[in-house]
């Protein structure tokens, strides 16, 4: 009987395991294998070389680019967390009616019905030298020269990231917040806690799983991004994703694969640290 049961269990997990094996494990193993290959202008040559990693890790450009990417990730993370938390807090605690909560929540997701790229590109005419922002500021007399840093700069990149990815913070944090038992808040108030104390000692700890999930989304997306960096920095700044993209476009797949492996390790470590700090399974 037991034996049959265990077979049934294996059968039940088989489809998902197969899917993971085929579409996750196999590709990643391939990438790792290819990262040791040699290449020429037109072909990839099976080999076991460390040259791709050497060229990657010994180049100061790689380190600069990784630092730049990490910097983008950290700044974006802080900003999306702050904004996302405030929005989620407002939705969960200020909006009383569940109907309005749902409506406002849907309003937050509306921008997601349009393409990511469109939302990004629409910033370009807005922020340009002769764009809406600069014309408005000039006409108000606040500035005398157009602000050049608004577009094709790191500022523009971070702005686009925050605009694009804040929702990834809002959703899981909001989800955590609505699950908080309201009697805990009453108890806190009865116990004499101020609003800030309740927020800091009750709400925030209970939101940790949501924050962690949102953070994983935002950090991993930003670390792997290349489109936003390319469009918003006007090619002035590089990111790890862009480096890979450049290598791939010249058929230098092994070099790109080596870079992908390094990035994967870095992102996995980051996620592992987050999981260490917060048990997100509580949320699931």
């Amino acid at each position: 009987m037991n034996r049959v049961n265990s077979w049934v269990t294996y059968l039940q997990v088989a489809p998902l395991s197969l899917v993971f094996l085929l579409f996750l494990v196999v590709p990643i193993v391939t990438i790792v294998v290819v990262s040791f290959f040699d290449y020429s202008t037109t072909q990839i040559i099976p080999a076991f070389l460390l040259q791709n990693y050497e060229e990657l890790l010994l180049s100061p450009v790689t380190w600069q680019t990784y630092l730049q990417t990490l910097q983008f990730a950290v700044i974006t993370w802080v900003l999306t967390l702050l904004i996302g938390f405030v929005i989620a807090y407002y939705l969960a605690f200020y909006v009383r009616s569940p109907t309005w909560q749902t409506v406002l929540f849907l309003v937050c997701t509306i921008p997601f019905w349009t393409s990511n790229i469109i939302r990004m590109i629409s910033w370009i005419p807005f922020l340009g030298r002769n764009g809406l922002m600069n014309s408005a500021l000039l006409q108000l007399g606040l500035i005398h020269e157009p602000l050049e840093f608004l577009l094709f700069s790191n500022f523009a990149v971070v702005l686009a990231y925050v605009h694009l990815y804040t929702l990834f913070m809002v959703v899981p944090i909001f989800n955590s917040m609505v699950r908080i038992d309201r009697s805990l808040l009453e108890a806190a108030r009865d116990g004499g806690a101020s609003g800030w104390q309740t927020l800091w000692n009750v709400i925030l700890p209970l939101c940790k799983p949501g924050i962690a999930i949102g953070s994983i989304f935002v950090v991993t997306i930003v670390m792997g991004d290349f489109v936003t960096v390319r469009l918003m920095s006007g090619g002035q700044t590089a990111s790890v994703g862009l480096m890979m993209m450049n290598a791939m476009s010249l058929l230098q797949y092994p070099a790109a694969a080596a870079n992908a492996v390094v990035l994967l390790i870095l992102v996995l470590l980051t996620v592992a640290v987050m999981m260490r700090l917060v048990d997100i399974r509580k949320e699931l």
Binding site: T42, G131, N246
Partner: protein
């Protein structure tokens, strides 16, 4: 180079269907064992053409269907993606519309087959840039990957480029042109006549060059040479030391804030220019027309050091055979027969066989586009929109003035791998 990347997805989706249809056609041909039947009936032939957006023009596909019965399925990709597809997915296309510098890179991968010049009816009429390499008998072959150096291979199945002319032609030229800097004559406020003018401190933060390493490095080389920073043996095939010096100079210039942005696609260059973000930049000819089309003045400025030229051609996939191969030759012969040539010339490009194109254009059109004469009436593009008013003269003048002043062809270098690493450094710096 996604010079025109609109509708890429639509085309790609069409391609999927086309692949199935082509597969069915080939398959049924194989079963009956009479592929000859197809040659007499091009209606059932589907040719899948993949290439850079420049010559993936729907009107050409429609006209081809009407004239020959061949269904042409076009996929427009950027140049890097074309190289990738030709090398890694040789069965996904029948005709590669590729640029000459790519030919040097992809032909050795043995996924394309050389054409028999005897089957190309107008072969002798093809502009000699692509055969002897000399526009006029006394011309000097420019630096870089000059088309004539990769136009012929040694034998039918060979992938080795021949020194002189042979019977085996790698690609039939489609479109070629001479590139230079585009300027906003209303905003530059001075005379521009050299590549080095892009370095003028007056234009700080208002210039751009393109971020496609293989072409960007050439524009950079034209600039560096004009400014006397680097002296090159061959700009199209730099030594490591020359690459180092060029990139070092670019990084320094970038850090000083000379560049506003680095563009990668056609539309980006148009937007940079129309919005006034930049006033002088590397540009492609149709981008200049697009800027003018929006009512913004833009000049494709001839420069004293000469042009950077590029060209593309149709190459046949290795797997083509029997009826499909015959249809591909029909298509190529049709391509050179004049209608397409006139169409391309009206876009400001140049076509491979001039005589037949001329026969399909009005005298005024030919005079304006090819001879550098002032337009007598309004000049229209192939879609019928007026692009130049009567009296206008083409920037740079006649075909011979422009193509005769080519300093360098787009190229792929022996130190390609090193160059790309250095280029990445420049972009990351």
């Amino acid at each position: 180079m996604a010079r025109k990347s609109n509708g890429g997805i639509g085309r790609r989706r069409m391609l999927k269907g086309a692949a199935g249809m082509a597969g069915a056609a080939v398959g049924s041909g194989a079963i009956t064992g009479f592929p000859v039947i197809w040659a007499q009936n091009n209606k059932n032939i589907v040719l899948r053409q993949c290439g850079t957006g420049v010559s993936a023009i729907n009107e050409i596909a429609e006209k081809c269907k009407a004239d020959l019965g061949i269904t042409l399925q076009m996929t427009a990709l950027d140049s890097d993606a074309v190289v990738q597809r030709v090398v890694t997915q040789p069965n996904s296309f029948d005709i590669g519309d590729i640029e000459y510098w790519m030919i040097k890179k992809v032909f050795p991968a043995n996924t394309l087959q050389a054409m028999d010049v005897k089957k190309i009816k107008l072969f002798d009429k093809i502009v000699p840039i692509f055969t002897t390499g000399k526009l006029k008998p006394d011309s000097v072959i420019a630096q870089g990957t000059a088309p004539s150096t990769v136009s012929f291979v040694e034998g039918a199945g060979s992938t080795k480029f021949a020194k002189g002319q042979t019977q085996w032609f790698t690609a039939v030229p489609t479109i070629y042109n001479a590139d230079t800097l585009g300027i906003r004559p209303d905003l530059v406020g001075r005379k521009i006549d050299s590549w080095k003018d892009i370095l003028d401190p007056k234009f700080k933060g208002k210039t751009s060059i393109l971020n496609i390493p293989s072409i960007g490095i050439m524009d950079a080389a034209m600039i560096c040479e004009a400014a006397g920073i680097v002296k090159y043996g061959d700009k199209g095939n730099m030594t490591k030391a020359e690459i180092d010096k060029t990139i070092e100079f670019l990084i320094k210039t970038k850090k000083e804030g000379q560049f506003r942005a680095f563009w990668k696609t056609f539309d980006e260059s148009v937007n940079l220019m129309t919005s006034g973000e930049v006033v002088i930049q590397s540009m492609w000819s149709p981008a200049v027309s697009a800027v003018r089309g929006k009512g913004v003045p833009c000049t494709y400025q001839p420069l004293k050091e000469g042009y950077r030229a590029w060209g593309g051609g149709l190459a046949l996939a290795k797997h083509l055979q029997g009826a499909q191969l015959d249809a591909a030759y029909d298509y190529i012969n049709w391509y050179l027969s004049g209608w397409v040539g006139a169409f391309l010339n009206r876009q400001g490009y140049y076509s491979a066989v001039l005589d037949t194109a001329k026969a399909n254009m009005t005298e005024d059109e030919w005079g304006f586009w090819m001879e550098g004469k002032p337009a007598k009436g309004d000049i229209k593009n192939p879609q019928g929109q007026v692009v130049e008013k009567a009296g206008a003269v083409r920037d740079g003048g006649s075909f011979y003035d422009r193509m005769g002043a080519v300093a360098c062809w787009n190229a792929v270098m022996d130190e390609d791998r090193y160059m790309v690493q250095k280029w990445n450094q420049f972009i990351a710096a």
